[in-house]
């Protein structure tokens, strides 16, 4: 299993480097095993350097830079072992418009291999959806599904106030 772990680690590492460059349009990223001699127990350090900046610890990165670095790692893992589904709950909240566009472009490359369920307030992210559910609490404390929109081919189909047949 030593061999298995280090093969997986190297594959994730290669993906992380590549996806980071794609998301940031440059810069450098890496994953480092803190203790090479003990692969099965060693901690893993994340190295990330946005384009044009000097290398510093991840704690000094900005809120948006940290979110994008997390997205790069997430998709690097996905590339190695795609999970059939992925739920993302408002991960675009700290991002500015430019970074949301880059995130959405990256996402487009993964939608054919996994199903994504994305909770968001952002119009650009919503534009990616094949189907859109609106949730409401018209009666305080009771959640209902209000509408189902097939965003890609069809127009919004108002399925009636409670899609919960």
């Amino acid at each position: 299993t030593k061999k298995m772990f280090s093969e997986t680690f190297e594959a994730i590492r290669a993906n992380f480097k590549e996806i980071y460059q794609q998301l940031f349009g440059g810069g450098k990223a890496d994953l480092v095993l803190l203790d090479e001699s003990d692969i099965l127990e060693s901690g893993i350090e994340i190295v990330a350097r946005p384009p044009g900046k000097k290398l510093q610890g991840v704690s000094l990165l900005s809120g948006g830079e940290r979110a994008m670095t997390g997205v790069a790692l997430l998709f690097a893992l996905f590339k190695v072992k795609p999970s059939p589904f992925c739920v993302l709950d408002e991960i675009d909240a700290p991002l500015d418009e430019a970074n949301i566009n880059r995130f959405v472009d990256l996402l487009a490359g993964f939608v054919s291999s996994s199903q994504f369920i994305i909770i968001t307030h952002n119009k650009r992210t919503i534009g990616m959806a094949d189907i859109l559910y609106g949730i409401t609490m018209e009666e305080s404390g009771v959640s209902r599904v209000v509408s189902v929109k097939f965003t890609k081919e069809k127009d919004a189909e108002k399925v009636g106030l409670g899609a919960s047949e």
């Binding site: 997390g70 054919s112 994504f116 909770i119 968001t120």
Partner: protein, 165 residues
């Protein structure tokens, strides 16, 4: 293997039977603050076998059962069903469609069902073994928790990589 339908009854704020049909690609979920979006992500995590109340933002598992509003009484049971297509045979079971159901009663009794037949949690866990379906760390990113991948200690990050191995 892909998600086809999620059905919630009495789970958190979803008092009435609510059905979400999933398509391949991206399903987006929108709505105002507090309307129940993140509760849907909790429902998926729960039906896939999550045992820690903390990961569902509660203090005891009973917190997932609809607890009433100023107008409605609390109810006695929460139920979530997840239907998946198994046309590709990824799930080691002889059905082209698999529905996993989880129920919890106020008494503390919990039940699991596989295609409407009672089974044990162990059966569900075995079904999902190595498919990436268990409530794994990287397939559900909770609200505000993208940062956790970056800020957790190096030893904790290992768990992500081991899952992918």
């Amino acid at each position: 293997m892909r998600f086809k339908r999620l059905e919630m009854i009495g789970f958190k704020s979803f008092l009435e039977r609510t059905v979400l049909d999933f398509e391949p690609g991206v399903t987006a979920i929108v709505g105002p603050n507090g309307c129940g979006k993140s509760n849907i992500s909790d429902a998926i995590r729960w039906v896939l076998g999550e045992q820690r109340a903390r990961s569902l933002r509660g203090t005891k598992m009973e917190d997932v059962i609809f607890n009433g509003t100023t107008e409605r009484e609390p109810i006695g049971m929460a139920e979530v069903s997840l239907t998946m297509s198994n046309a590709d045979g990824v799930l080691p079971i002889d059905y082209t469609e698999v529905t996993v159901t989880r129920q919890l009663f106020r008494s503390g009794e919990s039940r699991y069902l596989l295609n409407r037949n009672p089974c044990r949690l162990k059966d569900i866990n075995e079904l999902f073994m190595n498919t990436g379906l268990g409530a794994s760390e990287y397939s559900i990113i909770e609200q505000g928790k993208m940062d956790v991948i970056l800020s957790s200690r190096p030893e904790e990050r290992r768990a992500l990589f081991e899952e992918a191995a």
